[in-house]
């Protein structure tokens, strides 16, 4: 059975001025442990779909199920959501930030902060405040905060796009390695086609106005088993890049 099932999802935003159809008839499913990416021109509904999968709001039509349970009806389903910026709470220490989810879910566990910091490759900075850390370090803390609640699925909405290139490459490797280690299912939204190829098992290409699932690409086996950094250097990487790039170009016209 599939781990995640999105079926017949439509979503329209209503405002006084207009009704914007953001998603039209989205059907897709993802297996346990799989890493997939959503790519497509800006405004094609990627963030909307991710928010719906996260259970932040209900789609106008359609259902989203994780292991057979509807994401809106089940409050216990834990979902990890990472945004473009870290959104660490500036008045909380790093430790308090990491354990925030556990505190809210009443599963407090203080020793987890130092373990997670180690896992995401940071020195012991538990007692520091977010402002004392660099952008790349803060995004690592945000990853630790997301992983602390042991989510069933990770949703990553352009989490690397605000970072400098070097931090971005390092974080890609870290996230990819950690997700494999914990055998987590993940969905990555990205603007960076190369990142999508280097990190994913499958890539979903969306077309805009209204947002539709346009095409799905399988990433070849030989790239999947490499780290994202190594994948960027592999020969099959550039041929897949060319292929998807042409599709993207045709969509943007």
């Amino acid at each position: 059975m599939n781990f995640l099932n999105v079926s017949k999802v439509h979503h329209t935003y209503f405002s006084k001025e207009a009704a914007t159809e953001a998603l039209q008839d989205i059907n897709l499913s993802i297996n346990k442990g799989e890493f997939v990416s959503f790519i497509g021109p800006s405004g094609c509904g990627k963030t909307t779909l991710l928010s719906i999968i996260a259970g932040l709001f209900q789609p106008t039509l359609g259902t989203v199920k994780i292991e057979g349970q509807d994401v809106f009806e089940n409050d216990d389903l834990s979902i990890g959501y990472m945004l473009q910026q870290d959104y660490l709470f500036p008045w909380k220490t790093i430790e308090e930030n990491i354990t925030l989810g556990l505190k809210l879910l009443k599963k407090e566990n203080h020793s987890i902060a130092s373990k997670l910091l180690k896992d995401v490759g940071l020195p012991p900075v538990e007692k520091k405040y977010p402002r004392e850390l660099s952008g790349g370090m803060r995004q690592r803390v945000a990853l630790a905060r997301t992983l602390a609640v042991n989510p069933k699925i990770l949703l990553l909405d352009e989490p690397f796009s605000a970072l400098d290139y070097q931090s971005k490459l390092k974080l890609e490797d870290l996230v990819s390695e950690m997700l494999k280690e914990y055998n987590k299912t993940a969905i990555l939204v990205t603007h960076d086609l190369g990142e999508a190829i280097a990190m994913s098992d499958r890539i979903f290409l969306f077309s805009p106005r209204p947002g539709r699932l346009y095409k799905t690409f399988e990433v070849p086996e030989e790239i999947r088993n490499l780290t994202p950094f190594e994948a960027r250097g592999h020969s099959s990487y550039s041929s897949l890049f060319q292929l998807i790039w042409k599709e993207l170009e045709s969509l943007e016209q």
């Binding site: 409050d75 959501y81 945004l83 500036p90 008045w91 925030l100 989810g101 809210l104 879910l105």
Partner: protein, 264 residues
Amino acid sequence: MNNNKLHQQFIASLVKEKRWVRFYQLLILIAFFSLWEIASSNRWIDPLIFSSPSKVYTLFIDNIADGTLFTHISYTLFETVLGFIIGTLLGTILAAILWWSPFLSKVLDPYLVILNAMPKVALGPILIVAMGPGMGSIITMGAIISVIISTIVIYTSFKNVDANYLKVLQTFNATRLQMFKEAILPASFPTIISTLKVNVGLSWVGVIVGEFLVSSKGLGYLIIYGFQVFNFNLVLMSLLIIAVFATIMYQLVELLEKKLIKNE
């Protein structure tokens, strides 16, 4: 020259500058009081109206000695501090209720505008008739003058908290109460502190006007009494005491600010 030496020079220049600032501040203070004294004794200004530092000082010592001043000061201080705390607390609670219910906030919006525009001290006579001419109505004056503006300012800050913080909390299945506690309130602490600073001044206004009207105790009463019996030594002494305590209160709020806001 090495870095260490340069750093020490830099610090020395800072210290030196600070000393000069303090020097001029003190100079202004001394100049003000000496000029006041000289102008009064040479009758450049009418000593009956503008008094003089020496007369104010003599009166101050006398009133301290007979113990009356202490009572007046403690009444006014108590009323002001309480009015100030109630005003800010009530403002924060009202803002929280408005944040909780967007519908209610839409309904109440025009009324907040009207209440804010209205000069609250004009309510004084009604308050005194309704609540009796005592401490209760004076404290209410001190609070009422700041509550609406605090509500509006704090509510605006609640609304402007970045929605992505709430998104993060929502993914952890946070309730609305938890969102308020974890994000909305702490993110608005800087705004609440700055309303506190404004409210220090406002509650002094409310309390002094209240004491004018009730006319039985307190520094506001001393001012109005001094005015009625044409004793301007008393008026000026009360004014100076108010200036000192209002400043102390403001400094305490700044101290609180430093303790509460760690992230800047």
